[in-house]
Amino acid sequence: MQTIYTLFLVASILSLVLYKKPLLAQKVGFGLASILSLYAAVFFLSNLNDTLLWKLPGNFISAPLFRLEPLGIFFSFLISLIAFAVSLFSFEYAKHYEKKANLAVFASLFNAFILSMLLVVASDNVFSFMLLWEVMTLISALLILINDGKEASKNVMIYLGIAQIGAFCLMVALLIMASLAGSFEFSTFANLNISFGMSLSLFLLLLIGFGSKAGMFPFHVWLPLAYCQSPSNASALMSGVMIKVALFAFIKFSLLLPQYVQFGYILLFFGGISCIFGIIYALISNDYKASIAYSSCENVGIIFLGLGGAFYGLGTHSAMIALLGFIAALFHILNHAVFKSLLFMLSGNVYNVTHTRNMDLLGGLHKKMPITSLIFFVAALSICALPPLNGFASEWVIYKTMVMGGMEKDVVSRFFFTLSIIALSITGAMAIMAFSKLYGAVFLGTARDTKIVEEAKEVSFIQLLPLGFLASLCIGIGIFMNDIVGMLSKIVLTLIPHTSATPYGFISMPLIAMVMILCAIIPFVLLYLFKANTKEARITDPWACGFLYNKNMQIGSNAFTGDIKKALSFILRYESSVKIDGYFSKAVYTHKTHDFFWEKLYEPIIDAIMVIADKIGVFQNGRTNLYAGYILIYLCLILMFGYYFL
């Protein structure tokens, strides 16, 4: 494993060294990244059930130790797998940012980002973990800034701000745990002897710390801002794997605490809320990238539902529920990494040829980009959890966990589990609507803005190759669901020792695929038997009640979600305005959606901080004599403090 880390470091430095020749650096940097991550993926997959150890040579501060246990190896595998596809994609894609940034820096940051995520997963003490965690955050912030623009610094500041709130909670939690354990090594953290209140508050701190990074509600506000701002390959990595690193760390640390049932309930609660709000905003958004970003919040919610089941199982010592819950969560983590990075890369393809993120200007792209569209269709089916693709497989396991949890006699647990199933099912119904709208508005129908769509053309083969790879993974993971579950259950059994439960009663995905094929034959038999008319169809304009067809007659994304918006108006904020100047000119309809929680939760806090900052600003007024006075007052206070308390 040290070879992999070193090689990534070398690749990062090498591409930085070539900064005078950005195009070469881009080829070298991203090429190396893809080869290295392919190697890393194979390496981690073949050592899936081992424990790997590596001590940093030399006498570095606190002599960091890196340790990978099966769970860590699984996540390292996930990072390398997605990094492979994304870096192969960037090999061509990054060229579009030639004018905005030095590509050598881009490639270097990209390699460093992969390295930092791998190291966070492996680090084994508080100091190196916190350091690498912050490095990961900073590198991702720099990657967002590669796509510099009008709002870029504001978006990055919001991202960094929320990341810092998280990091602060994390630091507090880890320091308390370290002081209780008497050591900074994570391996000594197990079996802490602490009270329920202490354990609960540590758990909440960890949840805020990692949940804010994972995009859990109510910390989801940075998702659409950061992902829309960053280049698509960076957002694919961030959404695909960086938020998974946060989830990994959450699982790792919260398992060190003594377990209580309440942990499960908390996770189920936040998971359910994240699901519903994430998908509502994904549904009503007109910006396809923002829609995909909000759906990250939804999927993190789904993962938290699985984890909630797992922690409930640990709290009540029901091994079966804990096992199923962890399998479900890890399975969905794997699937979400695959299809979400795929969707972000596809949206990058669309953005590069159309230069707009507004769905209402697109349409009819399928004719220009057939392969991108086809892959998008597979990705959309799998994110909507439709059989027989991978999203369905993992959501089925989550449903099974919930049903197992709800069978217990306890009223509280029944309450939470039933509500989470309902949340998940509402999410499912809305995801169908959100992604059918997204796919339909971007790729199908008639072009709304003919100028944009006419210039569009299919991207190069090398850019499509990794997308095809991920799309086939979507299908493959779905069909071979039971093998993946078997693999994951081995990993999970290392997390919850002393259990020998084996998952049973799973559906058989190959059978589902087979029945679908069987059903597919019947219509053809029917057509053959009745000698159907198979003449080529005549091509006409769409029917418009006898009027001349106009492309504006087709449904737009606002009208599509109109009824739902009305029904949900109590939690949504949106403004529509119509601008008409002159009798013969065209009316301009604008439609804006606001994040309800940004207005209610974040803006008051930000305003308060601004006011306080203004007030504090009085002290900094540039008069030297006053500054000398401050120093004097400070010294006096220190002296007094030292005299009385030390």
Partner: protein, 306 residues
């Protein structure tokens, strides 16, 4: 042998479904003091469609080509998930017959329906695609709440297992939450069949059929069959859970099942014919609230352990 019976179940449903539709059309006509078409009219319609030539809209893509088949696949797979001719003793098929498999095949149907509607870029199909999605948003949670009571009560998501458990009387109507759930579930399944006051599968442009405005010829015939199959399946979904009359011999259970479904399907006319028609927001919001309230009552009872 299981697969043979499964095929039989599918094919007999395809063959009988147009008859039910014909009978209900005849009955509806009689209510409206018309003579009405022959009860075999739906067969004639489908046959005629198969022979017709087709036109398609300029904007259509591959989705338009594959949508009829995908719709048929999802509806037929939904029907196959109903354990009628097989039970828990079927080693393979019982791993297919799962409540969530059925629900998500329904979702696949809806997804393809919406996407196909947008693809034709016909103004009406867009509106009805939106409508289809919104109906899903309203009905899904009520259906799932009812199913939660069943699944958690029976302790499994396997439809064949639940069906057998309820038929044996180990779990069922003696439990209040179960019997209340039955009411709400029948309501939702009626909505899913796409009839008034929620939808009207054979008329109005802006309703369900609007999506299909641009489909014609053999494509339309296949979609018609798929919609009929879906209507039968959702009613069958109710029957399999709440009135499971199963017999030793697969053929006998199949015949009894088709009889039951036909009865429910035709009886739907009584609601259909006398119900008013609402706009989407008023109709769905107002009427589904009752179903939601009933299902929530059942859920609350279940949570309390009654």
């Amino acid at each position: 042998m299981d697969f043979f019976y499964l095929l039989l179940q599918l094919i007999s449903a395809i063959m009988v479904a147009p008859l039910f539709d014909g009978i209900s059309r005849k009955l509806r006509a009689r209510f409206q003091s018309r003579i009405g078409p022959s009860i075999f009219q739906t067969y004639y319609d489908i046959y005629k469609l198969l022979k017709r030539g087709r036109t398609k809209s300029k904007s259509t893509s591959y989705i338009y080509q594959i949508a009829p088949y995908l719709l048929f696949i999802s509806a037929a797979a939904m029907l196959c998930a109903l354990p009628i001719t097989y039970g828990t003793n079927a080693p393979f098929l019982s791993r297919f017959s799962d409540i969530f498999v059925l629900l998500y095949f329904g979702a696949l149907f809806r997804f393809i329906f919406i996407v196909a509607g947008i693809d034709t870029s016909n103004p009406f199909s867009g509106i009805s695609a939106s409508r289809e999605g919104t109906i899903g948003f309203y009905t899904e949670e009520v259906a799932v709440i009812c199913l939660i009571v069943v699944m958690m009560g029976a302790g499994s998501t396997n439809l064949a297992f639940i069906s057998e458990l309820i038929q044996k009387g180990n779990y069922g109507y003696m439990i209040p939450s179960f019997s209340i759930a039955a009411t709400a579930f029948l309501w939702v399944m009626y909505v899913e069949t796409g009839r008034k006051p929620y939808d009207l599968a054979e008329a109005e442009q802006e309703l369900q059929e609007g999506v299909l405005g641009e489909f014609c010829g053999k494509d339309f015939a296949i979609i018609d069959i798929a919609i009929l199959l879906k209507q039968i399946t959702v009613l069958g979904f109710f029957l399999v859970i709440f009135i499971p009359w199963r017999f030793e011999h697969p053929l006998l259970s199949l015949i009894v099942f088709l009889g039951e479904v036909g009865f429910l399907y035709v009886m739907g006319v009584f609601i259909d014919n006398f119900g008013p028609r609402f706009t989407m927001n008023k109709g769905m919001k107002r009427t589904m609230l009752y179903a939601l309230a009933i299902s929530c009552t059942s859920l609350a009872l279940f949570i309390m352990g009654i």
